[in-house]
Symmetry: C2
Subunit: 343 residues, 2 copies
């Protein structure tokens, strides 16, 4: 049995769900992967809960969710910093789930650097640090012989990177096309059914699919971030958001709207990675696709990715829970990849 010390950073939807899922799966991981998951510290903005493997059992979990109750708990610390937590036990894995900030990558960027410096592996669902500074992070991880995994940042449970890097090993990937943002795909699906943009967005917000400020999604930046990460991972590049031609779904040109209304056609926001030898071309654009396109059936909040190769033709993968639980499952998978499969 191998002990896996975990520090969880960030206690939003994904962080919370990761704590819950990994705790629920503790016995499963012991049985199937000989891994003993142990939460060394769980950081939320007000402080950290340390050194308890019973974090989600009954009332501890409830108290963890009700900050007022936490302060009475002997395992609760305020003023406890990440570097102290990283130094206070055998290195394990930092699960970085702070909010994604694509402007400067903080605070996740600093957390990841700190963890790598202290000999900790990192798995993250946070796109910010990676779109901002992919190459220096990957280089640092390599230099320290540590893993930096980010399945949860590319499309939660949709296994984009696994397929590209593992299933297609030995092929040359020529082109990748994806529907990678559930919010915009939901809005476009509703618009196909007759709603206008504002109605569809309002419904998405009401259902908790779109955020109150939906700009990162509807302006295409979330999709752009994901294709930057996928392209960098697949082609060992250092591309950033500046390298992507980005289009959103707010102002769909009327000729596209009209085509998209026709029978057997739909409008989709496609993230595309096109490769011509060493040149990689990235774009996020509205496209009208027909039934012959492998992503035609991907509707609602669903996601999908098509990879076109030289020797295996095209592989399309669709589905995977795209909510916080799906992201948490992707983080757990990354931890298992590091400790069980040594990937």
């Amino acid at each position: 049995m191998k002990r896996v010390n975990i520090i969880l950073m960030g206690f939003g939807h994904v962080g919370r769900e990761s704590l819950r899922l990994i705790s629920e799966k503790r016995e499963f991981c012991r049985k199937h992967y000989c891994l003993d998951m142990h939460f060394h510290a769980v950081f939320r903005s007000e402080g950290a809960f340390i050194n308890s493997s019973r974090l989600v059992s009954g009332d501890v979990w409830k108290r963890l969710q009700a900050p007022k109750e936490i302060s009475k708990n002997p395992n609760w610390r305020t003023g406890f910093a990440l570097d102290k937590a990283l130094a206070s036990c055998e290195p394990g894995v930092l699960v970085e789930c702070t909010p994604s900030n694509i402007k400067d990558g903080e605070p996740g960027l600093s957390h990841i650097h700190e963890a790598l410096e202290r000999g900790w592996h990192v798995v993250t669902a946070n796109k910010g640090p990676l779109v901002h500074d992919y190459c220096s992070l990957i280089e640092e991880a390599k230099r320290c012989r540590l893993a930096l995994k980010f399945s949860g940042a590319t499309a939660a449970a949709l296994p984009c990177l696994d397929i590209a890097l593992l299933s297609l090993a030995g092929t040359e990937i020529l082109r990748i096309e994806g529907i990678l943002n559930g919010t915009t795909n939901f809005i476009l699906t509703r618009m196909k059914e007759g709603k206008d943009y504002d109605e569809a967005l309002a419904e998405a917000q009401k259902r908790g699919i779109a955020e109150s400020d939906p700009s990162l999604d509807v302006e295409g930046w979330d999709t752009a971030s994901k294709i930057v990460l996928i392209a960098n991972a697949c082609f060992a590049k250092c591309l950033t958001l500046d390298d992507v031609r980005v289009e959103g779904i707010k102002d769909i040109p009327s000729h596209l709207l009209q085509q998209g209304r026709e029978e057997g056609k739909v409008i989709r926001l496609l993230g595309t990675i096109n490769r011509e030898k060493e040149k990689i071309d990235l774009s996020v654009r509205l496209a009208v696709i027909t039934g012959s396109h492998p992503l035609f059936g991907v509707d609602g909040t669903n996601k999908g990715l098509t990879l076109i190769t030289d020797t295996m033709d095209s592989i399309t993968v669709v589905g995977g829970k795209s909510d916080p639980r799906g992201a948490a499952a992707a983080l757990l998978k990354d931890i298992i990849h590091i400790y069980h499969f040594h990937l």
Copy 2:
């Protein structure tokens, strides 16, 4: 650079394509995976071509395909047995591509045992040995700390096993459903378009999709073999073809035929793995599916697999070249998994 000694056994469509593909990809594998692929011996029924890394360059390749010319080549040996080849260099990987024999698994079964006994890894596109004697082969490989990989036997380039074992690590797979046989899917697609069974089969045979004796495909045994392999790999079981309820496509009941003709419905031959705790239920059966089914769009010779899990919902993967070149690409991928990723 790591040298990979390869013995290729079997020189039918898949074996031939494997020799060609791995040779073509030699520089690519050196550059991307630091692997130096070297063919130590290539066995065909009349003899073996040994110890040349120039097997596919120009006229050597042509001579290899024209048995009468081979005998003049200094690298050609008759009466050279596998055990001799296995013992005559540092152990590497046996690429087993002899014809699939689901009755007793031979001759592949003996080849795989011999290779493992001599310390060689095995990758195979041959279902026969694995459906016949999965557990003893896997146990033997484990005991010897060797890899036995069979992506090429489960659905060629469609990454069934990678997704199940790697991308879904940490989940519990509850159910798997697949369209796993290109020949039957092609026939059913043509029947939907109005042809009758005999016409559709004749077209498939004319196009080289169906074999002259198509019984393994049309009676459902090819699909059954694949789901036995997938179920055994996913759930560490020792199931055989005796554990599968198998239905073919030859005598489709008229009520199904009628439903399948309706708009928005299709008949498909589904291989299904249903799991209830420790009980695994396997079947191959005709089903009428509608647009809401994730495999609805899988037509022609295409294949697809849907995996339903506890924490990642359902993942569907579709596509992948399903001809000898796709199988060869799957074999190469397995070799890279063994030597580069240590999987």
